[in-house]
């Protein structure tokens, strides 16, 4: 309960900060929605020409985009530092969080909010509503899929960026991991062979963010549910474990930092 109050206070502070520059915030939100919409034109053109690929059509793609965009949006807006954790570690900026009596990882992640994430979230919900799967049970499955997506996005990127504790600067590696995860999650894994599918379920768990939740929303199956739930729990707990392990090796540069 104490941690819930803490995180709600952080989110409130982030929203208040965004509202200080509300014109810039709303510009980011609107432009991100337009950006996603323009990107989706590719699939409109593709399915206009080829109708369907291995059971995937334009509606399924809207569903996949809905889940992936919502998951990314929630991560970016509410836990914005999950994409810049390596920079925080390498820059010695953990000192500030370590000196406070709150869970370090949670505090770091929720201390930053990326305004455009709200645009992704709104776009994702809109895309889901237009996909043809917007039914009461479909919505429940969508929410579960998005939740799993958030856990995997955050868990996977925290693991990769925590390598900075051992390897030093992993900003380039983290950017690659982010780019690969995001790109693969926006393509149905039916396009790839068995080996690649296995990679997309494990090493780069993009299928657990896009394809599996989309198939789960289309039709309930225990297999998809177990894959999603177990995958998200494994990545989440593994990320906490690895971050804590790495934290023991953290060395401060004693630099004077100002956290805003």
């Amino acid at each position: 309960m104490r941690q819930v109050k803490f995180i709600l206070a952080l989110w409130k502070a982030n929203i208040q900060a965004a509202m200080e520059f509300r014109a810039a915030f709303f510009t980011q939100v609107i432009f991100m929605m337009i950006n996603n919409g323009v990107y989706f034109i590719f699939w409109v053109l593709y399915f206009d020409k080829f109708n369907a690929v291995r059971g995937w059509d334009i509606n399924t793609m809207m569903l996949l985009f809905g889940i992936a965009a919502s998951a990314w949006g929630i991560g970016a807006f509410f836990f914005g530092n999950f994409i810049s954790l390596a920079e925080v570690i390498v820059g010695g900026r953990l000192d500030y969080y370590l000196s406070l009596p709150r869970p370090v990882l949670l505090h770091v992640l929720a201390s930053k909010s990326i305004g455009s994430g709200m645009g992704d979230l709104i776009y994702g919900i809109g895309s889901f509503m237009l996909s043809g799967y917007f039914t009461p049970d479909g919505t429940l499955r969508f929410l579960l899929g998005v939740f799993a997506g958030v856990c995997i996005f955050i868990g996977f990127l925290v693991i990769v960026q925590s390598l900075s504790f051992w390897l030093g600067n992993t900003v380039a590696l983290s950017q690659f991991a982010l780019s690969a995860l995001l790109t693969f999650s926006l393509y149905p894994s039916v396009l790839f062979d068995a080996t690649t599918k296995f990679i997309l379920l494990t090493i780069i768990p993009a299928a657990l963010i896009g394809t599996i939740p989309a198939e789960f929303v289309r039709e309930f199956s225990w297999q998809s549910a177990i894959q999603m739930v177990s995958g998200s729990l494994v990545f989440l707990f593994l990320s906490i474990f690895i971050f804590k392990l790495g934290l023991k090796r953290y060395e401060s540069g004693s630099a004077i930092q100002v956290e805003v």
Binding site: A24, Q28, N35, L45, V53, T183, L191
Partner: protein, 261 residues
Amino acid sequence: MKKYLSILSMQIINNIAYPGDFLGRSISIATFIFIFAGLWGTTFMIANTDVINGLTFPNMVWYFMMAETLELGRPRINRTISEQVKNGEVAYILNKPYNFLLYHFSAGLGDGAVRMTLNLIVGSIVAWILAGAPPPLLGWLMAFVTLIGAWILHFCFMALIGLAAFVVEETNSFELIYQKLVFILGGFLFPIDMFPTWLQNISYALPFPYMMYAPARLFVKPDVDLFWRMLGGQVFWVAVFVFLLAFVYQRSEKYLTVNGG
């Protein structure tokens, strides 16, 4: 001219100073080509054909390799300019004995030359493994010539977006929209040959195909008529945007307020 060459060479040295980062960037192109080859391999198989709108599967993979080389190598100077405008650094640069835009042009070219070369090497290896031998020499030549015009057009757009920081706080959103317009109307994700006719007409009336489709398409299917058409289009759009950029830059200087310090 000598000072701009020095800026260019300095940027090249900066880029190769960190080999890990340098190689890390090149892995991205391998990933993207792999995904794209998966998509089009499956599409050709399901369509049960070797040719779609005049392009074969190897054509598609090599097309994407060239397009991705340009996309990942294009200058991101909008972010630098925008930051310099917002944090006031621009005031220190303006009093230096070089032209602000030519400085960024040289720095961006140094940056882009290294990135594009590396992307071309890594991308070619991956494309060769996935789709077989590369296009003929004429394709490489036509692509190289049109890459120059494409790169200058990208530079003009990026500089215009960066200079927008003089009037608006947030410019990253403009870059995202610009990028997606190039992705779609420039034929990055989907070659223009596959568009419906009405969209092809819209696309050709805009500068985007000359920034992406031109080098990629000429690379895989060298065609003399298309080459001159694309080159003509590039010359026209470069003239338009260089003029526009010079005009916007002049106006932007008037917006500049320096508070000392």
